[in-house]
Symmetry: D2
Subunit: 378 residues, 4 copies
């Protein structure tokens, strides 16, 4: 009886500390709002397994994607580079075949792909939504791309500024890329690969109407390279698609409905970024009573998975407000608003204008946003 009491006492101490501490088999959501009638899918279209120069079995890629909160992935083992082939089946279709049933069981959309791996120019290109990888093994890159095109693949140029092929790290547009583009066989470019951002690629996508992509190109186990619990996530692409089917993703990619993401950096068209921002951020008290000389806190909640870093764009006569503020992911913050004007016509509807310095509409330009507030004399 006494013992029982002790155990009952002890029990809750037990229960009290049971939060998730170590990696368990859990999926951590990566929250972005659905926008403009589309689902906002998190996708990574570039990764490797033991079937080329990667270091994991293909099923691991499906499990990692599920845990990382992704919706769709493409395993893209190299066609021309198979350093493990003395020990591993060189069949270019095997990594997809092995991973796909695991992916389906976990609800991850599995897209078939391969990396056409040539010296620069034109460098490395991924072909995804292919039907059979084996015919991509050709003597020339021209033939390989023609075959990918024949299979209706979506083709994109990988890591254009990778120092392995561009020692100065600056992406360069060669005549060969012009040729591929002219032939209709270049549909997108990686603006972000692994941990690198290529401003040249960002500009080319805008100028040439190409799809922006951001991919991890992961070779090792994901959790060896990234720790999402500490806010360090693999690069991925937001795809605005009608649903999570391969067909809908393919249609969205060809229609350039993407935003690239690497941790807190987002790059994409003004439309997509504006929608993502405004559907992520909520002012809890948009109408405030404010006497002359007094100040209030605007409470602003950001439900998305990225921090937004804002810098005031304009001043407003008769008001003072915080000039630099970060809307932290999943948190509420305080924006200090002070009325300096003695007299106001009320309700006074003002727009607090900011630039979001980690949301890039082009390499040199931040997204501009407005926070609408209504001020009533106290």
């Amino acid at each position: 009886m006494k013992l029982l009491k002790i155990i009952i006492h002890a029990l809750p101490l037990f229960l009290a500390g049971l939060f998730l501490l170590s990696p368990a088999r859990v999926r951590t959501p990566v929250d972005f709002p659905d926008i403009l009638g589309y689902r906002t899918l998190k996708c990574d279209f570039h990764m490797h397994t033991v079937f080329s120069d990667g270091n994991v079995w293909p099923t691991v890629r499906a499990e990692e994607a599920w845990r990382n909160g992704l919706d769709a992935i493409a395993i893209t083992d190299h066609i021309e580079y198979q350093p493990h082939k003395a020990d591993v089946n060189p069949d270019h279709n095997r990594s997809f075949e092995i991973a796909s049933s695991e992916g389906e069981k976990l609800g991850i959309t599995m897209i078939k792909g391969s990396e056409i791996t040539r010296k620069m120019p034109p460098g490395h290109l991924n072909a995804i939504f292919i039907r059979d990888a084996s015919p991509l093994s050709r003597d020339t890159w021209q033939e390989a791309l023609a075959e990918a095109a024949k299979q209706d693949a979506f083709i994109f140029w990988n890591h254009p500024g990778w120092k392995g092929q561009q020692p100065d790290g600056v992406a360069k547009w060669y005549p060969e890329h012009e040729e591929i583009l002219r032939q209709g066989n270049l549909h997108g470019i990686e603006v972000v690969n692994e941990r690198e951002y290529y401003p040249e690629a960002h500009r080319w996508c805008i100028e040439k109407n190409l799809t922006m992509l951001s991919n991890s190109d992961v070779h090792d186990p994901v959790f060896m390279d990234y720790d999402p619990d500490k806010g360090d996530r693999r690069a991925f692409t937001l795809v605005f698609a009608k649903d999570a089917s391969p067909e809908a993703i393919r249609e969205a990619l060809f229609d350039r409905r993407t935003v690239v993401v690497f941790n807190n950096l987002l790059a994409g068209s003004e439309t997509w970024l504006q929608e993502i921002f405004s559907n992520s951020v909520h002012i809890k008290n948009p109408t405030v009573k404010l006497k002359a000389g007094e100040s209030v806190y605007l409470q602003i909640h950001n439900k998305s998975a990225v921090d937004y870093k804002l810098t005031r764009a304009d001043r407003i006569e008769g008001l003072k407000f915080t000039g630099e503020i970060t809307f932290y992911a999943g948190k509420t913050v305080l924006l200090d608003l002070k009325r300096t004007a003695e007299e106001i016509a009320e309700p006074w509807e003002v727009n607090l204008n900011f630039r979001v310095t980690n949301l890039k509409v082009n390499p040199e330009e931040d997204l501009k946003i407005s926070l609408p507030v209504t001020i009533i004399a106290g």
Copy 2:
């Protein structure tokens, strides 16, 4: 030009790592669903400042509450114990006066309270929703409680099993408590105080129709004792109220609409716990195709701020499913479901029955829940 390019390259590396790392002035939501037409408020009705034996200025308590995601607090400095009075104003109303404007600016409901601090029996009691703390300073606890009652206070017994007054740690019901109860001056008991749970108090609340409370009784800065980022939060009480006004909270407390929370331990009536659980947990694929001999994953998402630890309550003929599973706070997990029956009448609607071992309807009994699933032959 070259330099500009370098800066543009460098910039995103900058942006890429800007997640929230250190304590900033942010409010971290503590998600619990609103239920049965009520708002689910997170409240802490017991804490101290330098005005009694605490170690922080009163405004700190409002700021901490805001950061901790709470909705309402009561600062309850001791009436009879003021070790800093050689240096600090002994006026019993000052800590509330100082803290309340800061609390209002932050949107925290500030409730006026005091701790009547006597030797056992009857020990320490909090009176909250008082109008003036000074008259609570009386020769006898009987007079002090009578004064609190005169002010229409909600009165509860603090840490009944505290070893400072009950060396064996077992709460004891004295004739004095019976007397206070009979006079209508005992409305609730702390089932959890700081890091202690009192099963006796839990039972008394059920038997005697008293309100269950869980409070931090914090004396030091909260962030010195708890690290919410690591899943260690101060104790608090869920109050199911019409709104966040003091009046609505008072009405809810007198109506016993509470659940006590300490980290992952929840205690309360079956009704409240069932509603909290079922509004927190969502089966993403409640209808599954399942051939004989095959298995699928049920994907179960828990949007609340607590982990639920489940143990299978019944087996089901013709099905096998995971016997022990934790629905982690804010995560999706996989429940493995295997069809062993050769023949089934479809759609087969089954309830997977579990006990939630950290949700206690009384000290000896777990909440029982059902997960409804529809099985279709593949």
Copy 3:
């Protein structure tokens, strides 16, 4: 000039936050003191790769071991179970051949091993320090063990209470194990495998003079299953060896110079545990001035990588001291010591006796330790 100043200002803000946040290519030391003239090596003798049913390329195991602070590993792919053999070379020696050069480059001692994988009894056994894995592929386990013995292998029984072979989770000593032991072919048992501890195995090692082992048996990437930054580490074995060579480790294993470790659980002989503890823990102020009725803090530092949880074993007349205390890994804590005796003969040399409840000399018995303190009248 102005710009320069801004850059100089900005620069340190940059530098100020550069702590290690995400997984980088770093080795995190796991501190245990060297004892009794031996080096204390951290070793994991059981793990898998794609060459049996594991999910990583063999080189990953070397890199993980280096990052995890280990000194030596054995990859022990299954002889009889190769589910990837349609795609991966079935040669039993390949995983070692591939991993060993990577291990050597990183300074990890690579030990050749295989898992003889049979149904219970006798279940699974690892043979390590073998020269050629191929001849272990035999019709009967008797032949396989004889071959391992011929190669002078160190042979141990894996996960004796694994539910896959012992559904009730209780390890059972079969006549087959008696036979292997009698033939001199059983040298150790896993007391810990993955996240399971087997008290029966612990007792058998003591009774039958066998070596205690603790191994991860990891199949997936280590960082998918464990997060050392949050204090969750793979199981490993402390080996007390003359140096880190395979020969010295082999000699130490045959001489039973091991302690098993899983997070904060340590099991082993009283001698090893006592040495580990006393060389980890340091009282910073072992001589204290103490007047009657007053108290001091003993400041106790634990430089090892495990927490020690202590419970007072005896009381001392004339002194009061903390009854429950944890010496946290890498931290200093305070042990409160109060002199109640009015008169003392000084210097008063006392031993504060505790049990260390996470250091097990057998499944039912904690290590007993003493903290020597000298008290001088104030």
Copy 4:
């Protein structure tokens, strides 16, 4: 018997996860090597309590310092600014009196100080090692400084670029500062205050032979503003002193034996920084065998509490080695070294020269260091 077995099984699961997760009463060491015969003390000479405009009781400052791994602190409440004086004793000596016994019990050296709080110029100055704070309350700052000097105080200028007094954030040397310096009453300047670094102050300390200081100036609870577990620590000053007594610290300050620290930024003279670096960093394999065309890893361990960020300063004919590397605090990292020279005279003793970009000998100049390596033909 059966039950016992279950409990014994369960017990280690318990023990296995007992690492320190939440804030406990522990001291976390902040490792810096002792150098040149001195002890390297971690000190914070600027902080506030409820006795001026701070928000904690004075004893909290001692406890925080102990937990933060500091050796000495000065509480420096404002003389001229006491916003809580309606409620708190205005005696300028009280915060020291209250905190000092707690500090002594914890082994923290407590230094008496006050902040002379005037408008700019000369702004705010701290006087520490004073005997009586009350006489510092004077009509003019000249009188206050004269009194501090009479008490043999060490006097330093606080946050010279603080925007509250220098709206453009650039520190300015006024004639008043020249006057104080000429009178011998200015002994040091804060190069770092809270989270700001002042390059002008850094230069002035070098030019005018003044002591460099780095202080937190903390007003709120430390753990509300900083999370050392995530690598975010309050600013502090390294003092190289004969021992931890107030006298030895005073002597060291007057002799300018300091280095300022804010997270990973260190600033100070070349001598101190060089000693700190070279006594923190250890090459585990300084002699390597290396054939032409091959590469090895140098394993480099950094036992200090700061990361060192290195950039290669020179190339070496016949060798290639990593150009950018971070020696993470408490970790071992790999520096890749490749021999390109066909022929070498051996042993070849080389110095790998780097700049440490977060160790500043002046605002524009990094510390230069050499890593000596001996290469032997393989």
